[in-house]
């Protein structure tokens, strides 16, 4: 495949990397504010409540969605053995996407928000996002429909499903039949959490798992352990995941039956997770030497891609086992509303899916551009991020348990706030490491690209 037919994927990967830089920079400011609340205080756009949605929007709809769709632009034509339906439409989608993110950041900093978590953006931006999503979905679906390869590899199943699910989830979740973008009363929260959880379950998960299923056999040079098992995981994901949203409202002012349904579905999520996990580790079996030492068999990019992929698999298992556990009524009072959940969310989005995203870039970008990944910054990125993330998860998990048990014991609220300071300080140090690792990553990517142009 010539260079031209890869342009959109390349643009998306590069955009994703740049937006990641912005997202983590904002994250660092937020982490500082938890320890030093007077830091950058007194400025409206830099106030915590304005910056927080910027961090999340850029990380979720910038970096993560872009790298995953970039991977879809990369893999779908290869798995279908045809050219992407329209490279021009794909390039248009990338341009619109970057425009969308710029406008999203500006409006959020200006305080324009619909007041719903993950669904903050004002109506015109929702419409813009849905339009570019439709563009992406149309292009990829058309490509799959005219494929020359008879077999539909499981990656395509997952991508297909994500492209069907996300427009529905986004439309309903953002209550797009009214420009106000919200319902009245507690149903607003129910819809909000149907949406909030399903951008994870029906967008990041299928795109991420699909990408992992593509990369794993390539990197360990061995076919997938079981196609049938992967399809079991696929259908159980579709069966259970869309039901779990209301587990964010347990003990809250919503019908108890709705909470129970969500809890049962959350526990059932163990099934698809196990299917993915068994498949994942069985495929790696016998190839561990590729991770340690015998790297001469893999290029520098592939070698670090494999590291990210495998460790991402560990984070994936951890976060997916936390999910059903947290949803239990016995556990909820100790973890809900606390920093435990912040750790959990980062384990999923930064641990599992972003690690797989880094694997995608280290694997695909050299193949798209002919760039060589230089091993030293790539390894520094991997190890520094891993240490930082571990510290981050550990400190916030402990902080969350302290909050939950102190509240249970009736400790005055402000005393609990004050007792978290050491843990929030460890989180800050961890955040500095993670942000530094991302800057190294950006340096690695852009310096390798500069090498190509020369």
């Amino acid at each position: 495949m010539g260079g031209d037919s890869n342009t959109a994927a390349r643009w998306l990967f590069i955009s994703a990397v740049a937006w990641l830089g912005a997202a983590v920079t904002v994250a660092l400011l937020l982490a500082v504010k938890f320890v030093f609340p007077e830091f950058l205080s007194g400025s409206a756009p830099l106030q915590f409540g304005r910056l927080r949605p910027v961090h999340i929007t850029l990380a979720a709809f910038g970096w993560l969605s872009m790298v995953q769709v970039g991977m879809a632009y990369y893999t779908v034509p290869r798995l279908a053995r045809v050219e992407l339906h329209s490279q021009r439409l794909a390039k248009l989608s990338v341009l619109l996407w970057n425009l969308f993110l710029i406008l999203a950041a500006i409006t959020l900093l200006a305080g324009m928000t619909q007041g719903r978590e993950y669904a903050e953006l004002v109506y015109p931006l929702d419409v813009l996002f849905l339009a570019l999503l439709a563009l992406v979905a149309y292009n990829l679906l058309r490509t799959v429909l005219v494929r020359k390869e008879e077999k539909l590899y499981v990656t395509l199943w997952y991508f297909l499903a994500a492209l069907v699910w996300m427009p529905v989830v986004y439309f309903v979740g953002n209550v797009m039949w009214t420009p106000k973008g919200a319902l009245y009363g507690v149903n607003d929260a129910i819809v909000n959490w149907f949406y909030g959880h399903n951008i994870l379950g029906l967008w990041f998960t299928p795109l991420g798992v699909g990408a992992a299923y593509y990369l794993l056999p390539k990197l360990v040079q061995k076919p997938l352990y079981s196609h049938r098992l992967s399809l079991l995981g696929f259908w159980t994901l579709g069966l259970f995941y869309p039901w779990v949203g209301t587990h964010h409202l347990i003990f809250g002012p919503v019908p108890v039956w709705a909470q129970s349904v969500a809890i049962i579905a959350s526990v059932a999520m163990v099934l698809p997770v196990l299917a993915v996990t068994v498949n994942f580790w069985k495929t790696i079996e016998g190839r561990w030497h590729l991770l340690a030492g015998a790297q001469e068999r893999l290029s520098a990019g592939d070698s670090v891609a494999l590291k990210f992929l495998v460790l991402g698999g560990v984070w994936y298992l951890l976060t997916c086992l936390q999910g059903p556990f947290q949803a239990l009524r016995q556990v909820q009072p100790y973890v809900h509303f606390t920093n435990w959940v912040v750790a959990h969310a980062h384990l999923a989005l930064l641990g599992a899916f972003s690690f797989w995203g880094f694997a995608c870039i280290y694997y695909a970008l050299p193949r798209l551009t002919g760039a060589e990944v230089s091993p030293r910054p790539a390894k520094a990125h991997f190890y520094l991020l891993t240490i930082g993330l571990s510290g981050f998860i550990a400190s916030l998990t402990v902080a969350g348990l302290i909050q939950g048990s102190s509240w249970q014991a009736g400790v005055p609220f402000v005393d609990v706030v004050a007792s978290l300071r050491p843990y929030l300080a460890v989180r800050l140090v961890s955040a500095v490491m993670m942000v530094a690792s991302v800057y190294i990553f950006i340096y690695a990517v852009f310096s390798s690209l500069r090498g190509v142009r020369r």
Binding site: K33, Y184, V186, W243, F251, V261, Q403, V417
Partner: protein, 291 residues
């Protein structure tokens, strides 16, 4: 064809889930039945709510008292669906970096909120809440009106009582009859209490620490009634360095004021936040401040 079948299959799966988990509750009209305590927001309060949304207060504060004893002990009665009937977006929240606000209306006086929004560390020295000093006077007023409305009719009654007491306090101050009024507010059973920890060096040390952590923003780090919050408060915080004040205020009266607060002023009750021993330690410390 195969691809289209898969697409249809997954669409059906999400459709069924949507139907049951989202559209079924939407059709349940009992979830929209306004509860009798729910009061529609007036124009100023609604404006305050928009500022609450704009500034992202809801990322740090929930507005739902869950059906759990731990929530009830901090925040009061369990929240019911009917209390949210008029609200869109609903702002239930997901994180308690700060306390739940569902029933915070009238718990504090208006001027407490003003000083707190200008800089939360003025009233709560260990707070990590952001400062909202960049809001205009008019925006702050709206935000306070909104926060004071949280908790429905009950909250509005509390907030109204705070305002009435404030007017009475200021009027008494103007007439030079504040002392009389304060004395009358302290029940006889408290008036004669004596500090069991009086003179204990250990108590003074503990009191000094607690004072810095809880009281210094209003009463000043030296207890002179001149903390950074004082500029925003009326009536002003008590001056513990004043011999005149300290000689008229008995231990029992100080104890009662700290425990129950002084309604209508920024001096809010510390009864739920400090133990009996801690309050007496604070009083032992206050007694060392007189100049």
């Amino acid at each position: 064809m195969r691809a289209l079948t898969i697409a249809a299959g997954v669409a059906a799966l999400v459709g069924v889930a949507l139907l049951v988990t989202v559209f079924l509750p939407m059709g349940d009209s009992s979830l929209y039945e306004p509860s009798p305590e729910l009061k529609p927001l007036n124009e100023l309060q609604e404006r305050g709510r928009q500022i609450y949304i704009r500034e992202g207060c809801w990322y740090c504060h929930t507005q739902q008292v869950r059906n759990l004893s731990m929530d009830v002990q901090y925040y009061g009665r369990v929240s019911e669906p009917g209390e949210y009937a008029y609200l869109s977006p609903v702002l239930l929240g997901t994180e308690r970096t700060g306390p739940d606000l569902a029933r915070v209306g009238g718990v504090y006086s208006d001027d407490w909120h003003l000083a707190h929004f200008i800089n939360p560390r003025y009233t709560v020295p260990r707070s990590i809440m952001p400062s909202f000093s960049y809001l205009s006077q008019e925006e702050l007023e709206a935000l306070i009106a909104y926060v004071q409305s949280l908790g429905g009719a009950e909250a509005e009654r509390r907030a109204e009582m705070q305002r009435r007491m404030k007017r009475a306090m200021l009027e008494a101050q103007r007439l030079g009859r504040e002392e009389e009024m304060m004395q009358a507010m302290v029940p006889a059973s408290y008036r004669s209490l004596e500090n069991p920890l009086a003179g204990s060096a250990e108590a003074v040390l503990l009191g000094r620490k607690l004072f810095a952590e809880n009281c210094s923003g209003c009463h000043g780090s030296g207890g002179g009634g001149d903390g950074p919050a004082a500029a925003y408060l009326a009536p002003k915080p008590a001056n513990f360095t004043s011999a005149e004040f300290m000689s008229t205020a008995s231990d029992g009266r100080l104890y009662y004021s700290i425990l129950r607060g002084v309604p209508g002023t920024a001096m809010h009750p510390f009864g739920a936040k400090l133990t009996e021993r801690e309050v007496w330690s604070l009083i032992a410390y206050l007694r060392t401040l007189e100049e």
